[in-house]
């Protein structure tokens, strides 16, 4: 495992995300309310550039919402620009496919820099 500096902390304000090349990989780094997350810029569906998609929330409805339509995870869901498959970034969980969960890369902010471990 190697730590790679991808950018300065102030280059990734809250609510933004960017894609970085780290070695042979492309990794999407997200700042969600001050919490940093890193996931592959590769959708497991047809290998689209997942992290070039927009971030929003998601619609949900089930026993856990009292069967009412609910807007959840606002600012935490990235949508693949190719075919709109949604992922909850903090957990890496695919919303449509329960058996699909993205790898999450450890990362931290040190000395004003964001470092991703690959």
């Amino acid at each position: 495992v190697t730590e790679h500096v991808v950018c300065r902390v102030d280059e990734l304000p809250e609510g933004s995300h960017r894609v970085f090349r780290v070695g042979r990989r492309e990794i999407g780094v997200f700042n969600m309310g001050g919490e940093l997350h890193a996931i592959p810029n590769l959708c497991p569906h047809q290998l689209g550039p997942l992290c070039e998609g927009g971030v929003s929330g998601a619609l949900d409805r089930g026993p856990h919402t009292g069967w009412k339509l609910a807007w959840i995870w606002d600012g935490e869901v990235v949508t693949c620009p190719w075919h709109s498959l949604e992922f909850h970034v903090p957990t890496g969980q695919c919303l449509a496919l329960p058996d699909v969960r993205l790898r999450k890369f450890p990362l931290r902010a040190v000395d004003g820099e964001i470092r991703v471990s690959v």
Binding site: Q46, L47, G48, E52, G53, G54, S56, G57, A58, L59, W71, V77, T79, C80, P81, W82, H83, S84, E86
Partner: protein, 372 residues
């Protein structure tokens, strides 16, 4: 033995090694551009339409549709149009597509345009605009010549007007919202003109909620419902209608393709019709063989390719309608549900079947103009 053993193993085939014909790529016909080719007074109307802000497959005045979606944030942020031949060629290079057949955006809804004269004008203007702005710009881009079903005679005349132009490789019939269905005798002039011009026929569907059979899909409240059903219903209805009036028996040398509905519906309707035929042959005496024999001579666009959980099931599905020889790879680029050629290439077909589906079958369907 020694000779065989010392022969170098052939490198594993990659997508770059395969000649890819993309049977369905979309371009956005802009109303101001079409106005330049439209007969008065429709040019005036088209310039008025051009003042309206255009959205994806949604241009008031040109795309009749019932839109009831509530716009929650999210969904794809990808730009789903390409605006020039140069831009299109660049994106097709990234997709590893060698040759592409162009279909329109808004004119996917052409069958639902109410004024027959406007519909015929749109088709005529589009064909000329397509030729001058796209097909003559790049020889790797070939065109589907649009016919407005509202005015079959005008469509036939337009086919004959362009006959012999290598840039057009098929006649496109808008399959959704069409009334009557394509088995009706009113379309015979179109089939005759296509036959005389040596052009095959491609039916292309679109998500349509429209008050004619079988497009009354307003019972669904979601796009998932309407979109999933609109395409195969459109194809099944038109294919059954064409078999009822013996279109493939009356035009045995005319090739037909069914685009954008995937292929999952094909084995179903093929077996269903064969079963019906045993008891009701007398109703369809044009048919000299089981319906499935005619259907297996039709061609089918792959997109949107089914994605079964077990990838090997896609091979079984294609075996049920001779897809190895009759399926045409189509990406539908740059639309929302496009299939990447790399994805199709990775499906567990044999290398030979893959080469046919991704290019060879297209040459058999469209002709030598799409060959390498």
């Amino acid at each position: 033995m020694t000779e065989t053993a010392s022969r170098p193993r052939p490198a594993r085939e990659t997508l770059e090694d395969v000649y890819v014909v993309d049977a369905d790529v979309h371009i956005p016909e802009d109303p101001a551009g079409l106005a330049e080719y439209a007969e008065p007074p429709w040019d005036v109307g088209l310039r008025e339409i051009a003042k309206v802000e255009e959205r994806y497959l949604d241009l008031p005045g040109m795309t009749p549709r019932a839109e009831f979606r509530v716009p929650f944030p999210g969904g794809s942020n990808r730009r789903q149009i390409v605006t020039s031949a140069v831009e299109l060629r660049t994106s097709l290079d990234e997709l590893e597509v060698d040759k592409a057949v162009l279909f329109p955006d808004h004119l996917l809804y052409l069958a639902m345009v109410r004024d027959p004269s406007f519909a015929a004008t749109l088709a005529r203007a589009y064909n000329q605009w397509l030729l001058e702005h796209w097909l003559l710009e790049d020889p790797s881009l070939r065109g589907a010549l649009v016919v407005a079903p509202q005015e079959p005679e005008a469509g036939a005349a337009d086919i004959l007007r362009h006959a012999g132009r290598r840039e057009f490789v098929c006649v496109y019939l808008p399959a959704s919202g069409v009334r009557p269905l394509y088995g009706h005798r009113q379309y015979d002039p179109v089939y005759q003109a296509a036959l005389e011009s040596g052009l095959p026929i491609a039916l292309h569907s679109v998500e349509a909620v429209f008050p004619v059979f079988p497009f009354e899909l307003n019972e669904f409240r979601t796009t998932l419902g309407a979109h999933a059903v609109a395409h195969p219903f459109s194809m099944i209805a038109n294919m059954v209608s064409m078999l009822e009036t013996g279109v493939p028996a009356r035009y045995p040398d005319l090739r037909f393709a069914f685009m954008e509905a995937g292929c999952g519906w094909v084995p179903f309707i093929l077996n269903r019709l064969d079963k019906e035929y045993i008891e009701r042959r007398r109703e369809v005496p044009y048919l000299q063989e089981r319906p499935s024999h005619y259907i297996k001579r039709f061609f089918f666009g792959t997109q949107p390719v089914e994605e079964p959980e077990r990838a090997a099931d896609i091979v079984k599905l294609y075996e049920l309608f001779d897809g190895e020889n009759q399926a045409l790879f189509a990406s539908d680029w740059p639309h929302h549900d496009f299939d990447h050629p790399r994805y199709f290439f990775g499906l567990p077909f044999s290398p030979e079947a893959r080469r046919k589906i991704m290019g060879g079958n297209a040459v058999r369907f469209f002709g030598p103009e799409v060959a390498a």
